[in-house]
Symmetry: C2
Subunit: 489 residues, 2 copies
């Protein structure tokens, strides 16, 4: 056994234990009896403790010092193990434990504050979370930029500067497009009615299968929040239904199928290794977003979906071109997760700018609400009506996820690049989508991106799939074309 073999054998068990921790989270959101929460907290803490001990095990450092990679795959494995090891080594155990404790409390306080529309009840614990993550970021940054160090957890290689440049590139054309759409004479209709849960779930399962979700290696359950969980051969997703809004169920299902298909699509040879997972949050989101938007909300696919919904629910009160508009229409709203394709990234920019200010110490947590409301009014042209529609809407900051939000927009930008490349390779894609068959596209994504897992850096993963360095232009061109047609601009 070489040092590399020893390391990989140790790492494989760590990966397996990590999968167990993920399964417990899934169980917690789908199956766990309500009275088991406290015991589950101890169980999660126990397995996290085991994982932390393995990640900081001095033997890992020894193996890393002497392991010699035989090929590019081994190089990638070592790079990923080294990154995690060095990260864990830089954060004192005391700080890691304190962050785990405080964010657990903060998540509860956030939920209560949101329910009570009471920002003041959340601000003190948010201040604690910000302080702890700043301390952690400083430890990780080792003299460099603190926010960049936090970003590294979600999008290795990304920097505040590169992301700011991306948003600068997105903003003018998105704002212009948004204003043209909202000002247009031809406004698409809104779907109205009551849509039974059983039929929604039947269609959701059909959609999942159409988009290549492998039920042999996964399952769909209901949960409060849709999510995808697990890697390798056990990748589970959840969905939810709303009687008035079946699109919520359908498109969140397709979105999660995008995440799950990425995990299911990684080369079997990488199972339970660091490379055997999606490479970053941004690339992950590129999969969920391209499934959901560029494919699921396409002219072709909505043609098929319209037919399927009519079969299940009868007349929808609109013909099929109007249905395409209803699926894609822009609307005034406060909530990021409910935003349309054009406005979504504007919601993210707001968070990106505010969280950098929080981490830099230039914005005090107690001033967050005022800053959020001012920025929202400036960006969207109408005031926030209540905190649950404003700065309390997302769970992220309460659990310490600073640097996570921009990966959503990065995912959209990457999806734009992938979509443009895919369209060049698949001239007949529209015909397949019209038949309800996105498989040429999902196979293209599997073969060009998903199968490679974490073999390359996030940007190189996209560049390898598309043949070009990522840029925001393809996304903007796609949005301009699509919405010009819908709104007859």
């Amino acid at each position: 056994m070489t040092a590399y073999d020893d390391l990989m054998s140790f790492q494989r068990e760590t990966e397996a234990l990590g999968q167990i921790a993920g399964r417990l989270m899934w169980d917690q959101e789908t199956m766990m009896p309500p009275g088991a929460a406290e015991q589950r907290g101890e169980e999660m803490a126990a397995i996290e403790h085991v994982l932390h001990a393995r990640r900081t095990d001095p033997r890992v450092g020894d193996w890393l010092a002497t392991a010699e990679p035989a090929d590019a795959l081994a190089e990638a494995q070592l790079r990923l193990i080294r990154r995690r090891y060095e990260r864990s080594a830089r954060v004192p155990a005391r700080l890691a434990a304190e962050i785990a404790r405080v964010t657990s409390v903060a998540q509860g306080k956030w939920a209560a504050a949101r329910a009570a529309e009471d920002v003041a009840a959340f601000a003190p614990v948010l201040a604690q979370v910000v302080a702890l993550r700043r301390e952690e970021g400083a430890a990780l940054a080792d003299g460099g930029d603190v926010y960049d160090a936090l970003l590294e957890d979600y999008e290795p290689g990304a920097t505040a500067q590169s992301l700011a440049a991306m948003f600068d590139g997105l903003r003018p054309r998105l704002v212009a497009l948004r204003d043209r759409c909202l000002g247009a004479e031809a406004q698409p209709p809104t779907l109205t009615g009551e849509f039974g849960e059983a039929a929604q779930l039947d269609i959701a399962r059909e959609l999942a299968a159409a988009f290549g979700y492998d039920f042999h290696h996964g399952r769909i359950d209901k949960a409060v929040h849709p999510f995808s969980s697990g890697s390798g051969t056990d990748v589970r997703i959840t969905t939810r239904t709303s009687a008035a809004d079946p699109f919520n169920c359908f498109y969140s299902t397709i979105h999660e199928v995008g995440h799950a298909a990425y995990e299911q699509g990684v080369d079997d040879a990488y199972l339970l290794t660091p490379v055997g997972q999606g490479v970053s949050m941004g690339v992950h989101e590129s999969q969920s977003r391209i499934y959901e938007n560029q494919l699921g909300r396409s002219r072709g696919f909505t043609h098929w979906l319209h037919g399927r919904m009519v079969q299940f629910f009868g007349d929808l009160g609109m013909d099929e071109p109007a249905f395409y508009g209803a699926v894609n229409r822009l609307h005034r709203g406060y909530i990021r997760t409910e935003a349309d394709e054009v406005q979504y990234n504007l919601h993210v920019m707001l968070r990106f700018d505010l969280e950098r200010e929080l981490i830099a110490g230039r914005l005090a947590p107690e001033d967050l609400e005022e800053a959020w409301n001012a920025r929202f009014a400036a960006d969207f042209g109408y005031p926030v009506d209540k905190p649950s529609n404003g700065c309390l809407q997302d769970v992220h900051w309460s659990v310490g996820l600073f640097g996570y939000f921009p990966t959503y927009s990065l995912g959209n930008v990457y999806a734009g690049c992938l979509h443009a490349a895919m369209r060049r390779d698949l001239p007949d894609l529209d015909a397949a989508l019209e038949r309800g068959d996105p498989s040429p596209a999902t196979h293209w994504l599997r073969d060009n991106l998903q199968c490679h897992g974490g073999l390359r850096s996030p940007r190189d993963t996209i560049a390898h799939a598309t043949g070009a360095a990522p840029s925001e232009a393809p996304l903007l061109d796609y949005l301009d074309d699509k919405f010009a047609a819908i709104y007859r601009l």
Copy 2:
């Protein structure tokens, strides 16, 4: 922190990790996607590896050497930790790993052999399992009796000699009662018909609630084999349905509720400690059997169940006294798990005698089928018709469970003792059972036995609850009275 505190803090995490391993088993039988089996194998191996390392951690030995118990509870905790530590320390890691590997293979070969009715395909791997468990037993026995050493895993304090004496006490009266019942003129009827699954599951949930199953700290799902899983505040059970035999669903549900209620009923203060679980297989089985038989198959409760079934399914073709007979009737059969209360222990005796011969090396695994069939014909008066009804019917030996079977009969004997004591304390129990309310009995069990978890040895647990040393007489008296009435002997 004293050595005791350090030990208990370490042990608490071990218990939490043990609960996680149990939850994975539950998931595997209820929720896991079929294609995830291989990955799950690695996940299970990883967590078992962690657990084994913790159980044999030298620090545990150091703490045990210096910890000073402050009270009886601490004494019990230390006794349980010491037993497991010494057991783990005696079994070489190589042997433990080999047993895990071979029993995993053997279980698959057993299932295939059973399906093919081919004992010869199973005998070689059974021989391996027997040899490994004999080796393990010898390591554990340290010069003492090998079978007794294996028993210790399931029923601490029991010995082959004490169990043989118990079976000697049971056999003559059970055989006599069986022969009188089967020869009686008045034979109870058999329930016939088709019973819908949804209604069976509705009744099963109602039964679970009636017997005190706490859904706030548990859940019921369908699985191929009914089981109970987990301790503390997350104790889940499974059930199954058969269109022709609703009693299978109802009584296996009540049986598993007995196991689950024991775990749910342990004092909250013992959560995630060694004392915070059922004390032994025998005492566990006493709970499942008393719920299922002495309570669930009682004259009073079947009165209520008859009424409930008529409401769900309409006329059952028999009046309520005949229904009581149908629930309890003796029948010719081959399968232990389907046996009636009178004959059940005869099935166990057969296994107890044969497995002692296997472990002693006096019976070769290739001669098992012949020995089984001869013994079965002698004990039951008719020949085994096929291996799946004979020596291939149970999974136990394939996974190395030698010493487990007798705990089923021990559970019946303990249930007899508990039932006699409970009846003395609860003169009005029959009236409550007739109303479909076993709660006086289940509360009695919780207060007198379940709440104490592993505080006392198994026999002392029964003695504490009943006020007397356990004996087989109460069970035999109960069976004689009950079946004399049903068969008008």
